[in-house]
Amino acid sequence: MSTQTKAIISWIVTFIVMLIITMPGLWVILSGFRPLQEILAKPAIWIPQRLTLDNFYAIFGIGETQIAIPVLAYFRNSIIIATTSTAIAIIVGISGGYAFARYRFKFKDTLFLGLMLSRTVPGIALSLPVFIVWARLGWIDTQFGLILVYVALNVPFTIWLIDGFFRQIPKELAEAAEVDGCTRWQAFWKIEFPLAKSGIASAGIFAFLTSWNEFALASNLTRSTNSKTLPVGLTDFIAQFTTDWAGMCAMAFIIIVPALILTFLVQKHLIAGLTFGGVKG
């Protein structure tokens, strides 16, 4: 086989692989902009005939066709819960990650292992006792209750990533700053933090995506428009006997867009963070 045929074959295979990776998602997103009749047409209409925003108008309750699902409230809840829990998780993560990267102390390995293991607990398994305890404390169906859970869910991973980023910064820089007249805090804030900033940002986006996308816990700890998030809201479309496919597709688009944008922003850091965090241990 000549090199040229080989190259052509590998291009074709790559193309097919990329098609499989992208098509299912794109199809759903695209369907959000198509009228229901067209989505469900038999035989399938492959090339969209008509693009419309009707599905979005419908789920946001604008215009004539309205549906009884309060997407706007879910969207608001998702934004509040994901951003707040991310902000807290990042602060806690910087604090903890810095401790692991810069200090030697007793029980360091045990603590690290404990934090990581807490992350392995399956959401659904954790949801049972949290549900019971939160119910007693009156935290079921509150944004606060879910924020608290998401912070704890994100902290181990943010600590792991941020630890890795701080470790890349030579300890000597902070020492030099201290000799140059900085307090410990100034040395951190003026030297180490700016250098770890982009890494911390990507840890933050990772945390945001986790909170934004989480379902197992949210579906059991939320009840109403008080605290239901978009992923939980998505299941509202599945009624007993019918499913509003067009509405669901439109909502899928709303859930995916922030995630898409954020992930593309940090993809480089993300890979770097995961790789050296893991390889260098």
Binding site: T14, Y98, S118
Partner: protein, 307 residues
């Protein structure tokens, strides 16, 4: 005053600093994970039913555990879960490796490919579930639509209704969602790979397969184990996918441990029993993570100074 300054001094002394810095993280984990888990360990020894609050204090010893270990449905769900994970993680690794090698071969557009590969990673598992429920739907799904349109099959294939087909569809969704992480990390490994050992192997007379088998693959394994460790933290995401696609049905034929827990705990309100199962699932998750992490540590040691 002096007590306060004393406390202050202790708090800001060099030895105390790391503990103070870690305190918020530890408190969060205590409140949200450790304390509830201790509580759920307790409830797993009671006959607690959500509908009857007084049963929280009715200790039943090991009855829940005895019952689930004697329960055929539990064991079916348990082994289906283990088998499911074994199959999908291995397939994800193999597919990820294939994709990484493929992209590594391509001379331009590598970065674009890598970006495209991240696409499924952004999808919420619930969205993945929904998306494939839509695609595999026997009536309105695009897959059947396409198959029938092309004349490959006459009748609609009951993707999510037949037990085995539904399991396959779920596995497909799971693999679609998670292969990227393997591909991306293995590609990072291929990029990081030094050229010398490859050239040395060629000089030593290795053919392409031998070079791959003895040089490339051992170098990539730590990266594969990182992917597996990260992946094993999240295996329970499959709950979201299954819950949306089939809800564990038809007739429990796609029931995994996690959907069984949800059904027992929330739908049947049988919290004591569900917590006992939850403990089994926690141990399963820890076992998976521990297994891959120890492999990672061993692989790292084996690689010695090379990484």
């Amino acid at each position: 005053m002096s007590v306060m300054t004393n406390i202050k001094r202790k708090l800001f002394s060099e030895q105390a600093t790391p503990y103070v810095l870690l305190l918020p993280a530890v408190i969060m984990i205590l409140i949200v994970v450790l304390f509830p888990l201790i509580f759920s360990l307790y409830t797993s020894f009671t006959g607690y039913k959500l509908t009857r609050p007084d049963t929280l204090f009715k200790l039943v010893g090991f009855r829940n555990y005895v019952r689930i270990f004697g329960d055929w449905d539990f064991w079916v769900a348990f082994f289906r879960t283990v088998g499911f994970l074994a199959v999908v993680i291995n397939l994800e690794f193999l597919l990820g490796l294939g994709i990484a090698l493929l992209i590594n071969k391509i001379t331009w557009g590598q970065r674009t490919m890598r970006t495209i590969m991240m696409f499924p990673m952004m999808f919420s598992p619930i969205l993945v579930g929904f998306q494939f429920k839509f695609i595999f739907n026997d009536n309105v799904g695009i897959l059947n639509n396409a198959l029938q349109g092309l004349g490959i099959t006459e009748a609609a294939i009951p993707w999510l209704v037949d037990g085995w087909l539904a399991m396959g569809a779920i596995a497909f969704a799971e693999i679609w969602m998670s292969t990227s992480i393997f591909a991306i990390l293995l590609l990072a490994g291929l990029f990081a790979m030094p050229k010398d050992p490859l050239e040395a192997a060629q000089v030593d007379g290795c053919n392409a397969w031998q070079t791959f088998r003895h040089i490339t693959l051992p170098f990539l394994m730590p990266f594969a184990y990182i992917a597996m460790t990260i992946r094993s933290l999240d295996v329970a995401r499959a709950y979201d996918v299954v819950d949306t696609m089939t809800g564990g049905g038809p007739a429990g034929r796609t029931e995994l441990l996690w959907t069984l827990i949800a059904r027992t705990g929330y739908d049947s309100a049988n919290m004591g029993m569900a917590n006992a199962m939850a403990y089994v699932s926690i141990i399963l998750s820890i076992a998976f993570t521990y297994y891959f992490f120890s492999k990672l540590v061993a692989a790292r040691r084996y690689m010695g100074g090379a990484l």
